[in-house]
Subunit: 326 residues, 2 copies
């Protein structure tokens, strides 16, 4: 089992380190946060200086996992290029195109595949993490034209060891998708919470399920929401524009005829599609990782809502929703 | 204890009938729905024809509770005016101004106070109801200038017997508040669900907490959402316009500087206000229902986020959030 070097020991990085060790791997970490370093060391994990962590990664041909905020990625990559310029590298940042561009710029010789585990972000820091954070979660591992296959396999192996399943998808498709299902929900929740609070104590005293559910994610620290949403600016703009168009259409229909059927029907069908997806049966598919066009094959599986659930030698085992069955 | 005559035996009306009987009251119902009538009768409740139900209400000076959809209210009120023109009347429809106007038009001599229990609407029909539906819920009883005090007290007594607390508020303030905290959340959930589903199988396969929470109410039957939202057209238009303004401002900030701080900060504070309201300590206040300006006094309590939790003779016992305490 490949060793793992985790850079950044907050909620996600700290959970990766715990889960990797829990899976029986040799793993160590580095972090610029004193409290995270102390807490991790106190729990018995190996925490060293960044340069030492990367040197050891070279010595053991470890997978390096960048788990720092997007704003700190460039700085870490510069150090990677200096100390471990040909290492196997992945990351767990919530946007993928900006990280891929930073890798091309600052550490062009590393063997890289981007990653994004779709797991909780409402708390932060080492103490908020756990070895179980990724159990049953989707973990994106990117499949761009220049993705290194060895890095892809190493990142996917780690994701599976952490209890997640792997969704293979290009960086651009990932960013567009999470803009819709993660970043737009945060923006709309912010708008809703502000509109509700503008109604004063009476409105808040009448608030029940729909307002509580629709604003829950606004309990998250603003800094975390901002880092996530602002880091995906281009794709989020597209999603916000679509939402503005749909909300404007609802406004127009309500003002002119009083009818909201088109809006509500589309929303009902959208939610039904989510429930159907979650309840769908799967077809099992095998993908030969030694095929020439394997990255494209994997991308198609991700685009269809499929996921990699394991490996058998050089074959990836994928479950793809059977859209023909209910 | 005053007898109760419930017109309409769906989720809400059926639950009122059960809760009233559960509280030891004499209660009976009428409904135009054969399945609801059969199910209620099969459970041992007294279900009679509309005209017979109203005649008995006159004979027993019962409180008549109109629990039909907004679109059927006029028709029921015409029958009330014919058979029980001076009865004590309330309703449980989710908008209040349209019902108050219909009462003025079709049954101007009844003694009326509007009502709205803030309880679940995601299922419908007699079978979805229960005697416990209103436990701990807010139940608005309106305090307009022409509200009949005897009807207000009768409706409030029923709400308390059903396990709810009473929020006294004018019809207009009620409609504006629920537009913000109930109807706008449904419209935004519809917009979000449609934008997410437009992302195809990949987006839905990556959807986690924020999208699931933000679209949950779209599992509700479209007809119920439409009746609720379209019935509150004027107030909902104002709320949608505020949301459009806030979302447009977020779009502009994201496009120009890439910064979403104002949007996210306002959302975070709005959600914090909801949590603070829920955790706030209360001050107990007594309101003399024989005061000349009692309707105004009660309205102020509602506007401050307060609620009536009981009666002691002619005194209403109110809990008002202590905004000075955390």
């Amino acid at each position: 089992m490949r060793s793992v070097c985790v850079i950044g020991l907050g909620l996600i990085g700290g959970s990766v380190l715990r889960a990797a060790v829990g899976a029986g791997r040799t793993a160590w970490g580095a972090t610029a946060s004193e409290p995270d370093a102390e807490a991790a060391a106190a729990s018995g994990f190996s925490v060293v200086a960044l340069e030492d962590a990367l040197r050891r990664a070279v010595a053991e041909d470890a997978l390096v996992v960048v788990a720092v905020p997007l704003t700190a990625v460039d700085q870490v990559l510069r150090k990677v290029a200096e100390v471990a310029p040909e290492c196997l590298l992945t990351d767990v940042v919530s946007v993928k195109t900006p990280v891929a561009e930073a890798v091309s710029r600052y550490a062009p010789t590393v063997r890289y595949a981007g990653g994004h585990p779709m797991a909780g972000t409402s708390s932060s820091g080492w103490s908020a993490g756990s070895a179980e954070l990724f159990q049953g979660a989707a973990w994106v591992v990117t499949t761009d034209d220049d993705t290194d296959l060895a890095a892809w396999r190493a990142a996917a192996d780690l994701a599976l060891d952490c209890g997640a399943h792997v969704v293979p998808v290009s960086s651009g498709e990932h960013d567009a998708a999470v803009a819709r299902i993660s970043h737009l929900p945060h923006v709309l929740a912010a708008v809703l919470a502000a509109c509700g609070a503008d109604g004063g104590p009476l409105a808040l005293s009448l608030a029940a399920g729909s307002f509580g559910d629709g604003t829950r994610v606004m309990g998250t620290r603003p800094e975390l929401v901002l880092a996530m949403c602002e880091g995906n600016r281009a794709a989020l703009l597209d999603a916000v524009d679509e939402a503005l168009g749909r909300l404007g259409a609802a406004r127009g229909a309500l003002a002119s005829t009083g009818a909201l059927r088109a809006t509500v029907q589309a929303g009902h069908e959208g939610r039904a599609a989510l429930d159907a997806r979650r309840g769908a049966k799967s077809i099992r598919v095998m993908v030969d990782l030694e095929d020439g066009d394997v990255l494209e094959e994997l991308s198609l599986i991700g685009a269809d809502g499929g996921r990699i659930v394991g490996f058998d030698g050089a074959m990836a085992i994928a479950d793809v929703p059977n859209t023909a069955s209910p």
